[in-house]
Symmetry: C2
Subunit: 417 residues, 2 copies
Amino acid sequence: MNAEILSIGDELLIGQTINTNASWIGMECSLRGIRVVKVTTIQDDKLAILNAVDEAMSLADVVFVTGGLGPTKDDITKHTLCEYFDTKLEIHPPTLRQIEDFFTSRNRPMLETNIRQAELPIDCTILENKSGTAAGMWFEKKGKVLISMPGVPYEMKGIMTEHVFPRLKEQFELKALYHYTIQTQGIGESFLADRIQDWENRVRELGFGLAYLPSPGMVKLRITSYEGESRKKEIQDLFEELRIRFPQYIFGDQDDNLPTVVGRLLRSVHKSVATVESCTGGALAHSIVTIPGSSDYFMGSFLTYSNQLKMQLAEVKEDDLINYGAVSSQVVEQMAVNGRKKLGVDYCIATSGIAGPDGGSEKKPVGTIWIAIASDNQVVSKLFQFGDNRERNIQMTVLSALNLLRCTILNISSEKK
Amino acid sequence: MNAEILSIGDELLIGQTINTNASWIGMECSLRGIRVVKVTTIQDDKLAILNAVDEAMSLADVVFVTGGLGPTKDDITKHTLCEYFDTKLEIHPPTLRQIEDFFTSRNRPMLETNIRQAELPIDCTILENKSGTAAGMWFEKKGKVLISMPGVPYEMKGIMTEHVFPRLKEQFELKALYHYTIQTQGIGESFLADRIQDWENRVRELGFGLAYLPSPGMVKLRITSYEGESRKKEIQDLFEELRIRFPQYIFGDQDDNLPTVVGRLLRSVHKSVATVESCTGGALAHSIVTIPGSSDYFMGSFLTYSNQLKMQLAEVKEDDLINYGAVSSQVVEQMAVNGRKKLGVDYCIATSGIAGPDGGSEKKPVGTIWIAIASDNQVVSKLFQFGDNRERNIQMTVLSALNLLRCTILNISSEKK
């Protein structure tokens, strides 16, 4: 089954808005076995829309149209689609009631243009938009389908998830693909591929698909079954093997992220955490507090950016700062151990490194980072060597620190990479 | 002058990569008076490329093609373009030398596929790629131009900036547009538009273009002169008027951001800063240290997420925490004043608020945030009411805090919004 995405909007063409709708639809389609073969972005212009719709309907089985339905400009897209599908607009009472409710509940006046949003083509199926006033429209012609949706991402996503994908699955008898993803941190894509070669061969011999999905500092591994959920157990067993072999890298499943996983873990063992940060300058603490309710386990931090504050707040010995430098295991371990005591927590993470672009030396180039974790009976520290991009180095340090805390809580020894 | 962008790559269609190239080209074109009328994304497939190129060349005056030139898949795009423009590939000696140098300088072995990247069409102008091994290609046919470039964003941007735009400007005698942008924080787009209505009318009467470019917490204002730099002085005068009227909102010019502006200001007055953060949890400090060299003026922070640490580190009085709550002017001012003393700095910013989604009450709903700034002779605090999105509330607090510090240093009274 082939699909085309048609994005309408001048703001996309002049680069004011990035077309994230198209990539979201592309990703969701590929997860369901629908092949997006083309994405076309055009102006809010009748002729451009007519041409693009006509071409898309000849190329693809299903056409997803986003944008061009705002209250100020919906006339063009709706009227153009009416012309193409040879139908006309009429007030759609359920949509009108929904728009009225929308404004009443928000205590906002309803304008004439909002009422016009309830004028919808009579020869199409109306798809309810729970988050906004522009409804989705499902047209059919010669066995092909065109769906028109608003361009606001969360409105479009709601309509796709609730209405469009279930209807497409039924009408086109789509194969039910089954996917499962695990998340890794601390090993690059090619190193990971090298170490799981035997496993990957078996995954493929069993007829599954395998995808490596890398992002800075992390790699997701996704197995796809073309026979649906019936092979779920086999996939779980394959991933379980990896979890046993690489517990230091595999930190979660599906959409997990490290702050969520670490938060869940701290909650389950009833422990608290604090940070003493130098090079990350608060980025580590901030990543922890992105999680709602993190105040249950996160107490606070010392950000000791200056050496003066490293001594004053974290009681780092001046001699050690002079002899070993701020970026050293000696200093970062003192930061963690003393921070743990003074901040009154179970675990304390400390970071000290050279984020760049300045401050590097031959012995400690930009990207040299020490991370330490103090707990009640030990302190562990670990050296990392990242690259020369400041913001990237900070982000890599945050991810590595969270994963090191996870390994420490779970008593997993983190090997050298 | 009309343009079309043609993006080639399966990774774009399945949503693994977001098409930021198209938005960058769209933005840069619109700044130069080139109108992008269509963006088309297609597969790495000969027939798809041929059809799309043919259609684009009939629609637009210039076609920008990105992607499909990697060492493993360049055959399709290059051969297809040769077929379309009726030419053939031959080794291009300067490009071959450049590829050889590229690998020699990086101490990496050169593969057969890399040598093939120096095979380029004979009937086109080769555009040097300083950052990679895939050269740009400039084709002409019937007065129209097609430029093929690699999909790696910084390689494409280098070729566009160094070669493509200067050549287009010359060949098509593009009008030299002149743009100037100022940056505002702390006032929404519609409120700003309302307050500068008289000014906006004058801008338009003078024949300039005006654009509002909003992003969360900020609005950029851009004036465009269609007669080039000759009217630069008039534009500067117009913006100077606004700067005098709204010094509390206008924080910078062109590509300035708040951490850069605040850092520049602290450097120029030889003052230091620290933070005492509750709801922002390190995000404010992190935004300050995104700037290289920020260790010159940023000393460190207390992140007092728990009430216990608010008392212990920032010496907030227990009675005030009980009587007024952690989110109050009384508490946030103590955090700023005591933090300033204990961290030994000139300015100390404190934040305390309810980021959400939990913790709100009728009197203090989610989004209620207090910010205080202590300096040597005063402490000012200000109440903000943001929305119900946790991450957005944290970001809005960071921007507002930095702008409040700017106003404090410059002695600008920040009015109530």
